[in-house]
């Protein structure tokens, strides 16, 4: 049994090596710019990966119609990792051996993390359209990694900075709903506030979702003298807390996340919702490039764009544009170009910071005004009535 198995393994290696040779042979001869696309193209998370693959194909077609990149045709090398970290190393190895110049992927944070080491060793720039794990860029371990989606902590940073710089509050209470998303956001926000020393976190607590009343925690906020509350979680609890705060005639500002940036929140909290801030993904669907990309997807594939389509589109554009600007496919040149030249994408004009996060992609702050969420500029102070 054991001998047979290892025999089979040997055989399969042989076949893979052979196939790789077959693929590598003609590709090298044709001399193309190879854009590797790795992600979940099958399995239960295929709906996350396929839109990015379609976006890459559309972008390649667009570049090829204009004469390609550096005078060469763009070729897509697609590999499936099913969003599984244990398969992602294999996927990455295949793309490297097939000679990918840059890689668009992977889709899931876990798979991306395991694959990145291989690309790093091979000197390949990798850009994800959807991996949001903060560590990928912040650990500094993967200088070859870029992404066109904001990381999980970007939202917490926006909330914290907005409170400290725009609203200029000095005492902040942070609440969360004890869930992964809400607690994660709350902890990041606390980290940012404590690091900046511009404000003080006076309360940091988890509340019980679904409790019959939140008066005790609301009293605590009142007692602490907090000028603003940052809440990590979803809208049902947020609406209860806001209603109880307003019933107690507390003018404490309320800042929350995209779990609250939902019209249901306004419907449930009613008048109490007025003036509440919530961050949410920047709306770029009105961008002409986004409209064009979505239309191209519709006419070519006859489907809806799907998850991360615009992020994938932007990533493919950014990668090919960087090669063109750098006039090279070398790792150092491409990485430098990505950090230097802004590019017009469906997500707006983006370039990348030194950690690899896209500048200009991310979240906006919204405020409830007259029963609707209105985007408020994060940089300049919004016209807020000072409540005492």
């Amino acid at each position: 049994m054991k001998i047979r198995l290892s025999g089979r393994v040997f055989l399969s290696w042989f076949i893979i090596a052979g196939l790789a040779g077959i693929f590598a042979g003609p590709a090298a001869a044709a001399d193309t710019i190879k854009l590797g696309v790795a992600g979940s193209h099958s399995g239960d998370l295929a709906s996350y990966g396929l839109p990015t693959k379609r976006a890459a194909e559309l972008v390649a077609k667009e570049f090829n119609a204009k004469g390609g990149v550096l005078g060469k045709k763009v070729e897509i090398l697609s590999e499936d990792d099913v969003c599984k970290p244990e398969l992602a190393t294999n996927t990455a190895t295949k793309l490297v051996s097939r000679g990918a110049h840059v890689v668009l992927g992977h889709i899931c944070s876990g798979a991306t993390k395991t694959a990145l080491g291989i690309y790093k060793d091979a000197g390949i720039v990798t850009m994800s359209s959807s991996a949001t794990n903060p560590e990928l860029t912040q650990s500094g371990k993967y200088p070859n990694f870029f992404r066109t989606i904001a990381s999980d902590d970007a939202q917490a940073k926006l909330d914290a900075d907005f409170a400290m710089d725009v609203l200029k509050v000095k005492k902040i209470a942070i609440l969360h709903d004890k869930g992964d998303y809400g607690k994660g956001l709350a902890e990041f926000a606390r980290g940012f506030i404590e690091a900046s020393k511009k404000a003080q976190v006076v309360v940091f607590e988890g509340i019980t979702p679904g409790a019959v009343d939140y008066s005790a925690v609301v009293n605590k906020i009142k007692q602490s003298g907090a000028e603003a509350v940052i809440y990590g979680g979803y809208h049902p609890e947020a609406s209860s807390i806001v209603i109880q705060m307003r019933k107690k005639k507390m003018g404490t500002l309320f800042i929350s996340d995209d779990g609250v940036k939902d019209d249901t929140f306004i419907k449930v909290a009613g008048k109490a919702a007025e003036g509440v801030y919530a961050s949410g993904p920047r709306d770029t669907t009105k961008n002409p490039l986004a409209i064009a990309a979505i239309a191209a997807n519709k006419s070519t594939y006859n489907t809806d764009p799907g998850a991360f389509f615009l992020n994938g589109y932007a990533a493919a554009q950014a990668l090919l544009n960087a090669i063109q600007k750098a006039k090279s496919t070398k790792y150092e040149d491409v990485a430098k170009a990505l950090r230097t030249y802004p590019v017009d994408t469906p997500l707006g004009k983006i370039k990348f910071d030194k950690r690899g996060d896209a500048i200009g992609v991310g979240f906006s702050m919204y405020q409830v005004r007259n029963g609707v969420y209105v985007e408020v500029p994060a940089a300049t102070p919004a016209p807020v009535k000072k409540k005492k």
């Binding site: 004890k178 607590e205 988890g206 509340i207 019980t208 679904g210 409790a211 019959v212 009343d213 939140y214 008066s215 005790a216 925690v217 009293n219 605590k220 009142k222 007692q223 809208h235 049902p236 609406s239 209860s240 209603i243 109880q244 019933k247 107690k248 005639k249 249901t264 419907k267 449930v268 909290a269 009613g270 109490a272």
Partner: protein, 300 residues
């Protein structure tokens, strides 16, 4: 001291709500030794009925206390009908069955009612209008106590006094006490046990419906799942005070409300439930039948 007082009041409000629901658990347990897990759902149905009625009335252009009165009345009638029907369908046929069977039936009823409301209404959270009027005279007491809290406290107190009078001084109350003591003996001396049990369910459901209307207008939102957590907490309160004992349920509810409120206020709301249940465990270790529960001697 002000802070302490606010937390005290908050705990009292919370405790009042728990008490209104806990009474239903304890009364039913006292009379047929059944833990009626569907009771939390009756509370939820009360809140939903009040929401529907008040929306219709608001649409018809009515406002003010009359809406509250009508909505609460319809909610009470509706919930009472549900409590009555649930008993007839799910518990009465199992009265002679082993005690585990009606318990399972109660859990099934709870799941059924939740999903029924979810399908018939919606799974979303709905805004609940604040039906409770603003009481201007409370303004002078600063903001220590809100009008909705004040109304909750007064309503609970009045409901409890009425319940006490009903049990102590009416014929029905006497029949209930007799049935609770010994169902067979009560039957032998001419008490209509079936009717008494139905009354018990109806009274419990009325209290739950009052609780539903009060708390829904206090927190301003409802969905089909609100009965679950409120029910668990109220059940805990009933056990804490000694299940089967009416003053015990009220005492247990207030102790639970205060524990949660002070735990949040002075420690952290992360530990709200931890404190509540540690207290429950401690009390059950020291007094296994609850604070005011009678230690039941096994009847032979």
């Amino acid at each position: 001291m002000d802070y302490f007082f606010e937390l005290f009041l908050g705990g009292l409000t919370r405790g009042s709500i728990y008490a209104l629901i806990a009474l239903g658990y304890t009364m039913v347990y006292g009379i047929i030794e059944l833990i009626n897990f569907a009771h939390g759902e009756i509370y939820m149905i009360g809140a939903f009925t009040a929401l529907i009625v008040s929306s219709v009335l608001a649409f018809a252009g009515m406002s003010g206390p009359s809406v509250l009165f009508l909505a609460a009345s319809v909610a009470i009638i509706y919930s009472a009908a549900y409590g009555f029907t649930v008993e007839k369908i799910a518990y009465k046929p199992l009265r002679q069955a082993p005690r585990l069977s009606p318990l399972i039936s109660a859990i099934g009823m709870s799941i059924f009612l939740q999903n029924y409301v979810m399908l018939a209404q919606t799974s979303d959270f709905l805004p609940f209008p604040s039906l409770l009027p603003e009481l201007p005279f409370l303004e002078s007491y600063g903001l220590k106590i809100g009008s909705s809290e004040f109304i909750i406290l007064v309503t609970t107190a009045v409901s409890m006094v009425l319940l006490m009078l009903l049990i102590k001084f009416t014929k029905m109350g006497k029949a209930m006490r007799a049935t609770a003591q010994d169902r067979n003996m009560a039957m032998l001396v001419g008490v209509d046990v079936n009717r008494t049990i139905s009354y018990t369910f109806i009274i419990g459901s009325i209290l739950a419906a009052i609780g539903g209307v009060l708390i829904a207008s206090h927190i301003g939102r409802i969905n089909f799942y609100i009965g679950f957590i409120a029910g668990i907490k109220a059940f805990t309160a009933a056990v804490l005070g000694g299940i089967g004992s009416i003053p015990g349920a009220v005492l247990g509810a207030f102790i639970l409300g205060w524990t949660e409120s002070f735990a949040t206020g002075y420690v952290s709301s992360d530990y709200e439930d931890v404190f509540a249940f540690v207290l429950l465990v401690l009390i059950l270790i020291i007094r296994p039948s609850g604070l005011l529960g009678r230690s039941t001697v096994q009847k032979v």
